[in-house]
């Protein structure tokens, strides 16, 4: 049966949190700063000013590429990309055209692999502030380092897109190279969406002859919504036998719709050519290896290790590794537990899972010291003092109120005991040791 087959690729911009800008020594920390205070001749594009690339930014761009499984080019260069816009002081953006730092990567998420086309480095533009009858330009953001990540069109539904983007954000944050904060604009998402209306089911169909790029999306949910909207819109056009026009569209989050911004006819000829002010960038194998040394263990690798080393449940390993600080804290606490061996009446293997549970269920705050965490954990693990008199009363009450469950249990339905236990625990307001409750229940039911 023929069916709709979305073809989606992604372009993601990530602003690096280097101290200085991409090509000058101005502070790159522009957010919320007084306009045009973090500027100099270079990022203002003044006559005669020249760009000098930021080593840290290049190394971080390479780290991102490496983390996304890319091949790192030993020879790379910057290019000029020309277009006129008031927020672009030089009339061109320094970017990378045909020799980016990183190419051909892949990211695996839940059994699926999404290929990375390239990762390159460029500079951000200034910012226009529109007022009544006038528009002002703030160049504080001009030349802040920006990494562009381009995927292959390997996504066929909006859920995969969202999962990928969330994973990407986690990875970037692991690398500690960007806040990847969409509200502050340090992570920006642009899906390229097209649709095959009647897909014959072949695994590698010919790509559609158009694509629609959607810009100005600032949350993962909106990406999903925008894709869903676009697929519906495009399907309607395709059903009439027409091809949706190739264009750039914006996303209006209030209305939940996309709208046309720029058509193919307006497409720029960027007149790329190698940036003559910056010599080609050449790395030796050794230099690259030195850069790779600062690559941390990535969340994907951590999940696998936590499952094997700590015997964590897969979903817990996933949750605990979403944030590098949490993961580090988790390991720190587990390590701290070593000092308290043997832990009374608990299997040592249980400890990591228990720690994970306490963290995930917020039983113990993660802002306390590891020692304090362990202390609180031990308290939670300790057998609870049970008011046996009260327990007897409550068991009697529950048994009396649930004759059906009691009958089921007596007929051999073991699960019923769990229900009854739950009821008793509820009556005890949690102030009872589960094992004691179970034992007492069985004792009474067996009478």
């Amino acid at each position: 049966m023929k069916q709709q087959y979305p073809v989606i690729g992604l372009e993601i911009h990530v602003e690096l949190k280097t101290d200085s800008k991409m090509f000058c020594q101005c502070s790159a920390d522009y957010f919320g700063k007084k306009p045009n205070t973090h500027v100099c001749p270079v990022c203002l594009g003044m006559p005669g000013a020249l760009p000098v690339p930021n080593r840290q930014a290049i190394e971080w761009a390479i780290l991102i590429g490496k983390a996304l499984g890319c091949t790192i080019n030993k020879i790379s260069k910057f290019d000029r990309k020309h277009y006129f816009y008031p927020d672009l002081p030089k009339g061109y953006q320094i970017s990378q055209y045909d020799e980016p730092f990183c190419v051909n990567g892949a990211v695996a998420i839940k059994e699926k692999t999404f290929r990375i086309h390239r990762v390159h480095l460029e500079e951000d533009t200034g910012k226009l502030i529109h007022g009544e009858n006038k528009t002002l330009v703030d160049f504080n953001r001009s030349s802040v380092p920006l990494v562009e990540i381009v995927t292959e069109p390997d996504f066929h539904n909006s859920d995969d897109v969202r999962a990928f983007l969330e994973e990407l954000q986690v990875i970037i944050r692991y690398l500690n190279v960007s806040d990847a904060d969409m509200e502050k604009g340090s992570m920006r998402l642009e899906p390229n969406i097209s649709l095959i209306l009647n897909h014959d089911g072949s695994p590698d169909p010919e790509l559609p002859k158009y694509k629609v790029e959607v810009k100005n999306i600032n949350s993962f949910r909106y990406v999903k919504d925008a894709i869903e909207y676009e697929l519906k819109r495009q399907a309607e056009i395709l059903e009439t036998g027409e091809l949706p026009p190739q264009e750039t569209r914006g996303y209006n989050e209030t209305k939940g719709i996309t709208y046309s911004q720029r058509s193919k006819e307006d497409a720029h000829d960027y007149r790329y050519f190698p940036e003559p002010d910056i010599p080609p960038i050449v790395f030796t194998e050794k230099q690259l290896e030195q850069i790779f040394e600062s690559l941390p263990e990535l969340p994907g690798e951590k999940i696998i290790r936590y499952k094997t080393q700590y015997k964590l449940r897969p979903q817990d390993a996933f949750i605990i590794t979403r944030n590098r600080t949490t993961a580090d804290y988790f390991e720190h606490v587990v390590h701290e537990f070593e000092k308290h061996r043997p832990v009374s009446n608990h299997e040592v293997e249980d400890i990591p899972q228990k720690v994970a549970n306490y963290i995930i269920n917020k039983k113990i705050p993660v802002d306390v010291s590891a020692e304090e965490f362990v202390r609180q954990a031990l308290e939670l693990m300790a057998p609870k003092q049970t008011d046996t008199k009260l327990l007897d009363e409550m068991i009697a009450k529950v048994v009396g109120a649930n004759p059906k469950a009691v009958e089921d249990y007596n007929k051999g339905k073991q699960n019923s005991i769990m229900f009854l236990m739950g009821q008793v625990m509820k009556e005890m307001k949690g102030k009872a040791d589960a094992q004691t409750v179970k034992n007492e229940l069985i004792k009474i039911l067996s009478k």
Binding site: M46, L50, G91, R271
Partner: protein
């Protein structure tokens, strides 16, 4: 005060001996500018004098600076109306280094607008005139700087080259002009023309002054990623060693030149022989290919570099661009357009690599290559406007060194039949400014440039 015609080295000596004060020296040149500038239109903007005394290797020496070098607080226009009111908030690296050396800025000199030209006629502030004959062009684009040196309105000047813009006006005005190796002198703060070609350099009345200025302005700059980390030579010391050299002469650089020029250059070669240097015939790629390469690369880079003058800042909008700039922007934008890049820019860069390899090969055989600097001597004002690519043809003998990035110097080697200066060009290997300065110095000691420089300023004695 006997100042007329003194080199910077001599002036430094006089200042040391207190023959006159710094202030008197500055006033002397200021007076000359006031007297003669209306005749040559060499200066566009004058800087204010200072009362302080200046320490350093050029302590107290006044200097002229081409108007494409940013000077903090002093108007910098690149001779274009677009930047008519631009007062830079920062200094170019060369400006900083000159200031730190104790040199004192006199003012900013006229040039072809954006350095687009070889006659100073494309200046939006009117052409400069050749002090040897004010009906003639001083050459360009550093024409104002060349005229200022020739008429001794300044003892030293800073010019800049993309292809010939120091050497050609130096030849036509009969002064010394040095284009260093690309990357030897930082470009930071120089209004960009052809970024992969631009080279700041000195224009002076002696080879030693050129060496002195080069020692001041050369060297790696953390603000220019294309500046070289190669250590700066002791040019003044090196130039005085009595070296015997192998001098290359290439037929390709002796063709299509006027008889007058050929005669003077042949005589210069005879002097080199007499001094004991060995003359060796070498074969070089014809400079006509360098013209094509240069034209494409330079136009492409120009179209990109001028994109920032979009009318949003600097006051004057794009309608203030002159004809020549518009022509170059259009041609450059065309060669970079989608689908044309490979055929033009990329191809040009490939040929450029061949020219570089060609020079490297020849410099395995010889120490320097000698040729005329220009095919003809100074032309009449107005000649250039008739031909859009006239500048490129005029600069044919300069473009090999420009596209390959090797250093080259112009020194005067006599006058032609019209009593106009003839320039001799000495090209050297990468970062081997010492060798070309050494040969220039030997020639100067032997001939005093046939008194060309002296005759130049003696016309303007008062």
């Amino acid at each position: 005060m006997d100042i007329l015609g003194k080199s910077a080295v001599e002036l430094l000596e006089s200042l040391k001996k207190k023959e006159f004060s710094e202030k008197e020296l500055f006033a002397y040149f200021h007076k000359r500018i006031e007297r003669y500038n209306s005749k040559f239109n060499a200066f566009l903007t004058l800087a204010e004098s200072t009362d302080e005394n200046h320490e350093g290797p050029l302590g107290g020496i006044p200097f002229a600076m081409k108007d494409n070098f940013c000077t903090k607080g002093v108007r910098t226009t690149a001779s274009s109306k677009v930047l008519e009111h631009f007062i830079p908030p920062y200094d170019s690296t060369v400006t900083i280094r000159m200031n730190q050396s104790g040199a004192v800025l006199q003012g900013k000199t006229n040039m072809d607008a954006w350095a687009h030209g070889s006659s100073t006629e494309t200046s939006d502030f009117g052409p400069s005139k050749n002090p040897w004959n004010t009906d003639r062009a001083p050459g360009g684009s550093s024409g104002g700087s060349a005229a200022a040196i020739s008429a001794y309105l300044s003892p030293i000047a800073i010019g800049s080259e993309t292809a010939g813009s120091i050497r050609q006006p130096a030849a036509w005005c009969g002064v010394v002009g040095l284009k260093p190796t690309y990357g030897r002198v930082p470009r930071y703060g120089v209004v960009a023309m052809g970024s992969s070609l631009d080279c700041p350099g000195p224009m002076t009345i002696t080879a030693e002054d050129a060496a002195l200025v080069l020692e001041v302005i050369a060297g790696n700059d953390s603000y220019d990623a294309t500046s070289s980390p190669v250590p700066v030579g002791s040019y003044r010391k090196e130039m005085k060693k009595k070296r015997k050299m192998t001098i290359g002469i290439a037929d390709e650089y002796m063709e299509n030149i006027s008889d007058d020029v050929k005669k003077r250059v042949d005589e210069a070669i005879e002097i080199f022989k007499k001094q004991g240097h060995t003359i060796k015939k070498v074969k070089l790629i014809s400079p006509k290919y360098a013209i094509s390469v240069y034209t494409i690369i330079q136009r492409a880079e120009v179209s990109s570099n001028l994109a920032r003058y979009d009318g949003i800042r600097y006051g004057n909008d794009r309608t203030h661009f002159g004809q020549e700039a518009k022509r170059r922007i259009m041609l450059g934008a065309y060669t970079l357009s989608y689908g044309y890049y490979d055929a033009f820019y990329k191809k040009a860069q490939q040929v450029r690599t061949l020219i570089i390899e060609d020079f490297k090969r020849v410099f395995n055989e010889v120490d320097v290559i000698v040729s005329p600097t220009t095919p003809v001597t100074a032309l009449k004002l107005g000649e250039f406007e008739k031909y859009p690519f006239f500048g490129e043809v005029m600069d044919i003998l300069n473009e090999g060194a420009a596209v390959s990035g090797i250093p080259a110097i112009n020194i005067p080697c006599g006058l032609d039949s019209q009593k106009l200066p003839v320039g001799l060009q000495i090209m050297g290997n990468y970062f081997d400014e010492s060798t070309i300065l050494n040969l220039a110095y030997q020639f100067e000691k032997e001939t005093n440039y046939f008194d060309v420089i002296k005759k130049g300023f003696e016309r303007y004695k008062e």
